[in-house]
């Protein structure tokens, strides 16, 4: 197993000063990914809009136990 110092020396073209080794970048990337997964996993489920539909008994036709209910939103004009 190479040390971080020896690994950096194997990468050609990298300046010796002021540059981080690839291992540092990979490590940061995995940390960020882990944080994203954690954040997504712990987020509450998206709230689904629920609208309660009310109706007046005089504006209903058909039996209460009917298998199909048609709600008609309409305009007289």
């Amino acid at each position: 197993m190479r040390t971080a110092a020896s690994y950096a020396r194997c990468v050609k073209g990298l300046p010796r000063r002021g540059a981080r080794s690839p291992r540092v970048y990979y490590s940061s990337m995995w940390t960020i990914l882990a944080l994203v997964v954690l954040a997504v996993g712990s987020a509450p489920p998206a709230a689904r809009a629920q609208v309660e539909i009310t109706w007046s008994p005089s504006m209903v036709k058909g039996p209460t136990g009917a298998p199909v209910t048609i709600v008609e939103f309409s305009d007289y004009q």
């Binding site: 809009a49 609208v51 309660e52 539909i53 009310t54 109706w55 007046s56 005089s58 504006m59 209903v60 036709k61 058909g62 039996p63 209460t64 009917a66 298998p67 199909v68 209910t69 048609i70 709600v71 008609e72 939103f73 309409s74 305009d75 007289y76 004009q77």
Partner: protein
């Protein structure tokens, strides 16, 4: 309705569009008729008379159906059912229903006056799903 008698329940909801200035009193008037047990008869009369919905017209339709003129006129003038119409409009807006007619058939949305075949297809599908 006749074709599917006993298997369908129809719920009418008020959705007067803001651009239809005469619609609002008509919706309130229908509810006044409903309070006297004549909602559907008045509903049919309104659609037949569309768009003649001035106050005098609404009173004539009520009279034709045998509703008590004074009681009906008072109900209309006092806007007794305005809050109920508002509630329907609020529900429609919350559901994103901005055009009429819009139908919810066991929750499935059908927008506009579509063909009877399309209606049948959606109803049949809803019936199959409930079996």
């Amino acid at each position: 309705m006749t074709e599917y008698e006993g298997r369908i329940r129809l719920v009418f909801k008020d959705r007067p569009l803001a651009m239809h200035t005469l619609a609002r009193p008509a919706h309130e008037a229908a509810r006044c008729a409903g309070a006297a047990g004549k909602y559907w008869a008045y509903h049919d009369r309104l659609f037949a008379a569309q768009p003649r919905f001035r106050r005098a017209d609404l009173l004539v339709y009520a009279s034709e159906l045998g509703l008590h003129s004074d009681t009906f006129a008072r109900c209309l003038d006092e806007h007794r059912f305005a809050a109920d119409v508002d509630r329907d409009v609020d529900e429609a807006q919350a559901l994103g229903i901005n055009s009429t007619p819009t139908f919810l058939i066991n929750g499935q949305r059908v927008i506009g006056a579509t063909s009877i075949e399309e209606f049948r297809a959606v109803i049949e599908k809803a019936l199959r799903e409930r079996r």
